[in-house]
Structures are given as structure tokens and as C-alpha cells.
Subunit: 463 residues, 2 copies
């Protein structure tokens, strides 16, 4: 087990800078910890008041007699080194430094001093300049971001603060279940590789999403990422992909986003799934975290609109996935329900007159067929059917077949389509508003499967 | 004026196959025409009943004594030629053939027969195999798609039926205002070029969106598209962009989607904006239809999250738009409102502590500055501000400055961010859930501006 075990499973957590003022970060974090339901010791530290939110406060961490593994540090930057010393002496193992005003504004010395003092006590530092962290298996939300994070199997590491908090909110809107969210900020000590080592072993995490501007130790990142990628997909939003973007990143974090080509090559080597936008990354997270991995890449596309089928075929081809003729037994089963002029190639065109039952029967048949590895369902809202009805039909087929197979659904239309998408994502069935996004997200899974096999073979040859 | 004038401004419209049965297409279309508010003559044609929806029916078009310019034909395929003859004799100018069962299922002869008979009477044919058409300036919705299309300045031509109807619904959800929607189906006679000629002259249309699987006369399309592109942007979703997609399209419509590279080159030549997905196309429609064209491409990015700024910089660079240092007078004005550590490069980083007022003042200042051509506003939902508050601040600045400048906004977060986006799009301010989509949509406008200038210069040299 990685040495970050106690960060994510602390026996006690202290909030240095806990405040009664509801506009203070030290207040919001404490409130989130309490209200999200953390069950072990919570210790506000504030020398000027006796209690905060009904909890007894302590003047310093060293005055807490119970075991404290983590301190959240939300005080002015210049006071941080002293707080670290006090916590270190008290045997604290991890300092989560929320405070800003370090390397990101040029205060390199102050940041180095914090790390030096922490190391002296064998303490690890997360941050500084972060919004905190979340670990849902122990109901810990030590952030000043949104509180009601949905528990699940996705770990999200973010180098950006404001964007990270905003995306935390997006996970709730999109129904994405979270195991952990970690704001890494200046990465003075704990970095992406350390966290990947932890998530590699973490049974609660099956997908890792990283928003990264740069890493300092590229070789170590590649090593660790290659290892975890054989077990779990790692999706990276690499900010500063272009020279222009890298310059913007440099002015933002003070860290050089580095040679663009170098990162691309590092991601390729390590099997990391590189994405260009937060939407693409979130779309991939849904298929990769909600679907099982398929044994192959034989996709069947089921649609009620030829146009949607063509758009999906184009997107899949862009991703190197080519549609083949569906298995004969599947074709024969579907032929029974369809009008004679329906196209039984791939995409299977149920025609614009397809009622909900045709979706139910054809999707069920595809899920049951051993010659099909994954199913892409496209539905254009027409006058004849209701989007939620089709969503229910698809969900019913998935439910009845029991053994899950990768599936991705597009529901195209207006407000009712939007509601049907919600219905499916609540059931953890990946659903999107356009055929291209549904196809691209499914392709990400098929591509990861292939790459994973390649990594495993490479490893076998090497050992 | 193009010869399609009477199609879009008919003195009277007859529905052949008007039905009392609410599940019939001939019923839904008549209902849409009546309820969307068409004010001129509406004539149901049905020999077996005396009235439909309180309107007197006629046994044939030739028995209507008032002027009828358009017939909507929603009867079985084999009966269409006869109906065309009757309408032609009665002086009808346009037949809108909803009926399917023609070339798309191999009935080429029947389709040719329809066109031959129509031509004999000087009649033009839209379709067959379509869902109808809309022209909002005369409140005409002769489709079996959604009724409450939002009037506006975007014309949408679609070769796909089910996808087209679904996207009609999407325009309502996305707040996109429509001048016309035209389902072209098999394009037996009226095609994209004919429609572009009409929309070129149409004062109610300022952007054209085409979902296209293929055109038969490529040269004419390039000529007409080049001409209109000098005035109005034409956005194309070319389905069957890839060889695999083209094959899927061939099995769907029976029309060959054609050589992939040929289309790309035709679009380049004619200044058409080619998109890969319906989402991209819709995103572009918003900036191109709601914003004025800028005089240049000097963009300023205003953000409260460095990460969002970097993502936007990357996207803009992908699109060939490079951020330059903002004008000095703008920098000095913004410096007054910001903390000393804020970055006054481009992106301008208001920092995570930016309240709504900083957005108001910096956006207003950018809109007023003659050294800035377009403004990209990025907002990450943090604990300190409300997304709707920021949306109001941005809208307030736009409103106060009066003269519109191209603007594009990203609001990143959860449900409140979604609502803030709605707030802005209701005011026709382009707004998106991610920095990349907001940046890409603004870039589409800047690229179109450049290309338009090139086309105009080319034309001047040639003449």
C-alpha cells in the first residue's frame, strides 16, 4: 500500500484556521467535513475562539490528545511554516495546505520552507494553493467546493483550482460518481505519480481523470501511469497542449507546461487516454466507469434515423473503429420485428417508424449475442415515440439481460430528450445528446481495451 | 428573386391527405399549419370527409377556387403522380411531397414519374421522403415535427428526416431562432443550391445550416455557396465524411455520399464552414447568428480560473487564433479593479476571488475598447459567486455598451451553471458549458470573417 493511505483514511483530521465566519474558507471546509458525514475525529484549530459549529476548538494541533493524521491548513501564507512544525511535532502525517501565496506568485522560498519543515517530521504535503480533497469511501469532503459529491468509482486529480471546483459541480450535474477528488495545486511534494500509485491499489477507484498543466518528473509519471493503465484507465486533460496554451499556463502557475510533443509521446507510451476538452474527458469517464470492458471491438449500431447512423459511423471511423456486418443470428432475430425495407447492415436502421418495443427487442437481442461486443443506440425524437419511453425500453433490455456489455446511447431532440438522457445516466447507462458524442465515448472504451492488451503483452515480454 | 418565392410565401396551401386521425401524418401537418398561425388560405384535401379540424375539405386540389401555390402531399406513394397532375392543372407551383417509398427504397421510376409530371406543369417538387418545411416570417410550419419553433434568422436545410426532426427539437431547447427549416429528402428536384439561392436573397435569413449527405451537382453547389458565403455564413454538417460513413450513407439514402476529399475541397473553395458534429454546428450557429461580425480577430479572454484560460488558449490556437497582449488602456482600467497578483496578460485572470462586479467592469471595458474585436468570457463556478449573478453581470455590460461586439461565454459548473447558460442564451448571448466550446464557437466567427474577406477580394480581382 502506498504511503498516502493515512491521507485518505485519516484517524482524525484537524482544520487549522477553522472559522465561525461563514464567508471564510476555514469555515466552509469544516462545514463540508461535518455535513458530508465524516465519522472520525474532527478538530477545529483556532486560538481565538472556544468552539466552531458546536465543536470544541484547540489553540494548536499539538494540544489535541487524540490521533490526528491530517491537518487542513487554511491560514495566511506566512503562518504556514510554523503550523507545519507544530503539526509535525504532534505526529501528523499529512498537511493539506489550502493557503495560497507561494510559488504561484513567486514565493518559491516560502514554499520550499514549508516542504523542508514537513520533511523534517516525515510529513507529506498536498498543495499549497488548493481547494482540498475528497474521499467518498470514508465520507470525507475536505474542500470548499460543492458538498454533495456523488459517491462512485472515479478519482479526479486537478492542478487547477477554480476549474477543478467548477468541474466538481459538473460531476454532480452529470451524475458521475466519485471515489476521490484531489486538488494538487503547486504540487510542492505530493504529485500525480504519488496519487496514481495510491489509486492503482485503491479498490474503490476504477477510473482516474487528471487535469494536468505539467509534471516535474516525466519519467516517473510514465512508469507509474503505465503500471496503472494495465488495470484502470487514466484520462488526462493536458492543458497547455499548444505552444500558445503552454505560455498561458506558464503565466498562470509559474510552472512550465513543457514541450508539447514530449507530453503527447509520454501519454502514448504509458497508455494514458489524452483528451482535448473537459467535455470529451467527462464523456469518456461515463463509458469507462459505468461499462465493463468488452472482449473485442465488434460494435453494432441501432438507430431510427439513417442520418444519425452515418454521423456515428463517421465518428467511429475517425477513432479507428470500423463497423462490420452484424452476426447472422442477430440479423434474423431483428428481421422478425422490422418492416421489409429496413436496412439490416450496420448501422441497423429501425426506420423512423420504430416504436419503443423495437428498441427494447433489438437492444436486448444485441446484448445477448455473443458475436457482438458493444452496442451503440441512437434515437432521434420523432412524432411517433417518447424519448423517456425509448430510454426506459433500452434500460429495460439492459436490466433484463443482466450481464452488462458496453453500451452508449444518444438521445437527440429537445427538452424531452434531455430528460431521457438524465433518466439513463441516473441508471449509469452512458447517454449523450448527439450521435457523435455517444460514438466517440464508446470508441474510447474500445481503444483503451486494445491499448491495455498491448501494455500487458509488452510487460509479459519484458519480464 | 429566386423562383422559390411562392414556396415560402404561398397565397394558399393545400394538404392532400389531410386526416381526422390524430396519429396520421396528414393530420399532424395540418394541425401544425393551423396552430403555428399561418394566416392565409389553408385547404385540407380529402375526398372521404367533409371537414377536418373545422375546416371544409375538398375532394381534389382542382376543386379549390382560391389561389393555391403549394400542395403538401401526404398520401401513399403510388397515388402521388395523379395528385401532382391534378395540382398542376390547378396552377399550383410547388409540390411538397412528404410521402416516402421512392428512390430511397429503389423506386426510382416512380420518383422520376413524379418529377416528369410536375415539370409538365411548370411545378417544382420538394422531396419526396421528407417531413415538410417551415418558414417563420409567414408563421408557416408545414411539418410533422415539433410545432413551437422559435422565430429567428437561421435557415436549416436537412437531408435526413428523423435526425432533422430531432434537431428541430434541439433548436427549441437551445434557444436557436429559425427563419426556415427545409427537409429535402431525396432531392428529386429542389436541392441545396436552389435553396441557397433563395436564402441568399432572403432578408429574414442571416445564417444557413445544412445537414448534407451528398449533392448531385457539385459545381453548381460551389458556385452558389461561394456567392452566398460572401454575405452570410453557410455551415455544413457533411455526413459520410469518411469512407465508412459514406458507405453507411449509401445504404441509407441510396445516394452516393461521394468522394470524401472532393467534398472537403469543394467546401474550402466556396467558403463553407465544415463541421464534424451536430454539436459543433449548433455551437457555431449561436455565435454566427447572434453576434455581429468583428472587424478583426483581436480576442481578449477574461477568466476567473487560470486553467479555463489555458484550455481556451489551446482551443483558439488549434483554430489558428493567437492571443496577443491586450491594449494598454484596457490593461490600466482593469488593473484598478484587480488584486496586485492578478495576471494582466491575455487571458486576463480575474483570479478565483473575482466577484460579479469585476466581470461586469472588465467585460464592459473590453467591449468599449476599440483595440479589442471580440471577447471570450470564462467563469468557473466557485464558492464565492453565483453563476446567474455572473451571467447577469455579463449581460448587463453587453446591454449597457449597446453596440454589440462578438462575445462568447463559458459557464462551468453544476446545475446553477446550466441555468446561467439558459439565462444568457435567452438573451441571445452565446453561452456554453465548457471553455473549449465557447472558444471554438468564437473562433468560427473570426475564421469566417477572414475567409469572407478573402472571397470578396477574389471576386473583386475576377471582375
Amino acid at each position: 500500500m502506498s504511503n498516502l493511505k493515512d491521507l485518505f483514511n485519516p484517524r482524525g483530521i484537524a482544520v487549522i484556521g477553522a472559522s465561525r465566519d461563514p464567508t471564510k474558507i476555514g469555515h466552509i471546509i469544516l462545514k463540508n467535513i461535518v455535513e458530508y458525514g465524516y465519522r472520525r475525529g474532527i478538530y477545529p484549530v483556532n486560538p481565538s475562539v472556544s468552539d466552531v459549529m458546536g465543536l470544541k476548538t484547540y489553540p494548536a494541533v499539538s494540544t489535541i490528545s487524540d490521533k490526528v493524521d491530517v491537518v487542513i491548513v487554511s491560514i495566511p501564507n506566512t503562518k504556514v511554516p510554523e503550523a507545519i512544525d507544530d503539526a509535525g511535532k504532534a505526529g501528523v502525517k499529512h498537511a493539506v495546505v489550502i493557503a495560497s501565496g507561494f510559488k504561484e506568485i513567486g514565493n518559491v522560498d516560502l514554499e520550499n520552507e514549508v516542504v523542508r519543515r514537513a520533511r523534517r517530521h516525515g510529513m507529506r504535503v498536498l498543495g499549497p494553493n488548493i481547494f482540498g480533497y475528497v474521499y467518498t469511501p470514508v465520507r470525507l469532503n475536505a474542500t470548499f467546493g460543492p458538498r454533495d459529491v456523488i459517491p462512485g468509482n472515479v478519482a479526479f486529480i486537478t492542478q487547477s483550482g477554480a476549474l477543478g471546483i467548477a468541474l466538481m459541480g459538473s460531476t454532480i450535474l452529470e451524475g458521475i460518481g466519485i471515489s476521490a477528488i484531489v486538488s494538487v495545486g503547486n504540487k510542492s511534494d505530493i504529485d500525480d505519480a504519488d496519487l496514481l500509485e495510491f489509486f492503482d491499489e485503491d479498490p474503490n477507484t476504477s477510473v482516474v481523470l487528471i487535469y494536468m498543466e505539467g509534471v516535474s518528473d516525466g519519467r516517473r509519471f510514465v512508469n507509474v501511469a503505465s503500471k496503472i493503465s494495465m488495470k484502470k484507465p487514466v484520462i488526462v486533460i493536458k492543458s497547455g497542449r499548444t505552444e500558445a496554451g503552454a505560455r498561458a499556463a506558464a503565466s498562470h502557475t509559474g510552472s512550465l507546461a513543457g514541450n508539447v510533443a514530449l507530453y503527447e509521446s509520454a501519454f502514448k507510451q504509458s497508455g494514458v487516454i489524452s483528451t482535448k476538452s473537459v467535455e470529451e474527458a467527462f464523456d469518456f469517464v461515463k463509458t469507462l466507469s459505468w461499462n465493463p470492458l468488452p472482449p473485442g471491438d465488434r460494435v453494432v449500431v441501432i438507430t431510427n434515423g439513417g442520418g444519425a447512423g452515418v454521423q456515428a459511423s463517421d465518428t467511429l471511423a475517425d477513432d479507428g473503429i470500423y463497423l462490420e456486418k452484424p452476426p447472422q443470428d442477430f440479423v434474423e432475430e431483428v428481421r422478425k420485428i422490422l418492416p421489409p425495407f429496413a436496412s439490416l447492415a450496420n448501422p441497423v436502421d429501425l426506420t423512423g417508424m420504430a416504436p419503443e418495443d423495437w428498441y427494447y427487442r433489438s437492444v436486448k437481442s444485441a446484448l445477448q449475442n455473443s458475436g457482438i461486443d458493444a452496442v451503440l443506440v441512437l434515437y432521434c425524437h420523432t412524432a411517433l415515440t417518447s424519448p423517456v419511453g425509448v430510454a426506459r425500453a433500452v434500460a429495460g433490455a439492459v436490466d433484463e439481460v443482466g450481464v452488462r456489455k458496453p453500451i452508449s446511447v444518444a438521445i437527440i431532440g429537445g427538452l424531452e430528450a434531455y430528460e431521457a438522457i438524465k433518466h439513463l445516466t441516473n441508471l449509469k447507462i452512458p447517454a449523450y445528446p448527439t450521435p457523435e458524442r455517444a460514438a466517440h465515448a464508446l470508441a474510447a472504451q474500445l481503444k483503451y481495451r486494445k491499448y491495455r492488451e498491448y501494455l500487458i503483452k509488452k510487460e509479459q515480454i519484458a519480464s
